[in-house]
């Protein structure tokens, strides 16, 4: 029986991508099962594998974990990416939650109706440049350290890296006013585990396309 964590999700980023990033950064190899059909999904529900009838599902350490944040917290806690004490964890949590709000806008973007896409894209860029990135730019500037919290790499750094790249895919010059974040991005890209994850052939998934959107809608039978 494999000891590697096993990820069950669509063959695309969605809510599982942050889990892939975190496991990769922690140098944990994992397997993936991709949902392509509604039948697979219905079977998972009937088997009782999905606690709340939803994916992501991650089989890890004998548990069938659901709920993205629960999964990420567990991985961060297990692989020492959650700070050294309660206060560091508080800051990591605050940063991660802010980033997750921005990520959520990006996640939902492909599913928004065509007439709303331009407005949503503008909102993503606006929020990134005025609400979220300034916070992290300031944090890095104030303590002058390489990482957001506690002078060591944490879940917050990995999520920030993920969201920076995701926003850049939509707005390439988004970091132009953020020199600290530019340097942060370079530094993180050069960390061996992340460098490997950013190379072709890694489990990292490409940006969502029409095929991904239609697969998700079909599997979940969303109207």
């Amino acid at each position: 029986m494999s000891e590697k964590p096993r990820l069950i999700y669509f063959n695309g980023r969605g809510r599982m991508e942050s889990v892939r990033w975190l496991l990769a950064a922690a140098r944990v190899e994992f397997e993936e099962i991709f949902l392509d059909t509604r039948e697979q999904y219905v079977k998972l529900i009937k088997d009782g594998s999905l606690m709340f009838q939803q994916v992501p599902l991650v089989e890890i350490d004998g548990m069938k974990m659901v709920q993205t944040r629960a999964i990420l917290s567990y991985i961060a806690g297990k692989y020492n990416l959650y700070g050294k004490d309660l206060k560091e964890r508080a800051f990591i949590d605050m940063y991660v939650e802010g980033i997750t709000d921005l990520m959520h806008m990006i996640l939902m973007f492909p599913f928004s109706p065509p007439e709303a896409k331009e407005k949503n894209l503008a909102l993503i860029t606006e929020r990134a440049t005025h609400r979220y990135f300034p916070v992290f730019e300031k944090a890095l500037k104030q303590h002058g350290q390489d990482f957001l919290v506690g002078n060591q790499v944490s879940w917050a750094d990995i999520q920030l890296m993920e969201v920076i790249l995701a926003v850049e895919e939509k707005t390439p010059a988004v970091l132009s006013a953020f020199p600290q974040l530019q340097a942060f991005k370079t530094r993180m890209s050069n960390m061996p585990a992340i460098k490997k994850f950013l190379q072709p052939g890694s489990p990292r998934k490409p940006p969502p396309d029409d095929h991904y959107v239609s697969t998700v809608l079909k599997v979940l039978a969303e109207e």
Partner: protein, 224 residues
């Protein structure tokens, strides 16, 4: 200077209510500073005390904490409501995350247009009784213990009780098919700190009244 946590929010449940529950359950006294107008929120934003320009914000242990989950995590861990190890925390997190999903559904009811409310309510009842409540009923049945995780009170129990009571406000017999959740509700309501919070005069907030909705919408600049 008071050592008590200080909560910044409007005078209503919203996203702050689960924090009030958690502090109350932990027996921690707290102060509240209510936003009455949009200007109050703008002032707070301009003062630079809101990390992402949003409330809830809780001043606690020298930090100005934002993001409901981060605040909840900190309080739960500090006051020993987060299980004894990583695996118990994983279970608590899974249970709590789903309850938060249900809470969101309940919270959004007030914002539905009048002609959509009935259908929305049907959806709430469907999700509550078919997706969420059966899970917790089964958990309690399987281990036969008083609490959801690790045989001791945790944040999961506190948040579940909050959700059960809120759901009952929408449909009073919503727990009819869930005997173990009914006894869970009675049991957790009798935990002394929680019993106190459930009494009149506590800092628990009432459900949002229709007449108060415009004021809340104005503060948060919603629906324009």
């Amino acid at each position: 200077m008071s050592g008590k946590p200080k909560l910044h929010y409007f005078n209503g449940r919203g996203r702050m209510e689960s924090i009030r529950w958690l502090l109350a359950a932990a027996g921690v006294e707290f102060d509240e500073c209510f936003l009455e107008t949009r200007d109050d929120l703008l002032k707070l934003q301009k003062s630079g005390t809101l990390l992402f320009q949003q409330v809830p914000m809780v001043e606690i242990d020298g930090m100005k904490m934002v993001q409901t989950r981060a605040i909840g995590n900190y309080i739960a861990a500090k006051y020993n409501l987060y299980g004894k190890d990583l695996k118990e925390r994983a279970l608590i997190d899974m249970y709590v995350e789903a309850i938060i999903d249900l809470d969101e559904l309940l919270m959004m009811y007030a914002l539905q247009p009048a002609d959509k409310k009935e259908q929305y309510l049907a959806n709430i009842v469907d999700k509550a009784t078919n997706r969420y409540f059966p899970v917790y009923e089964k958990v309690l049945k399987d281990h036969g213990q008083d609490f959801l995780v690790g045989n001791q009170l945790s944040r999961a129990d506190v948040q579940l009780l909050e959700a059960l009571l809120m759901a009952e406000e929408y449909k009073s017999d919503i727990l009819a098919k869930f005997p173990l959740l009914q006894s869970f509700k009675a049991r957790i309501s009798n935990v002394p700190t929680i019993k106190k919070f459930l009494q009149p005069g506590s800092q628990r907030k009432p459900p949002l009244q229709e007449k108060d909705l415009p004021k809340v919408m104005k503060i948060f600049n919603l629906g324009h």
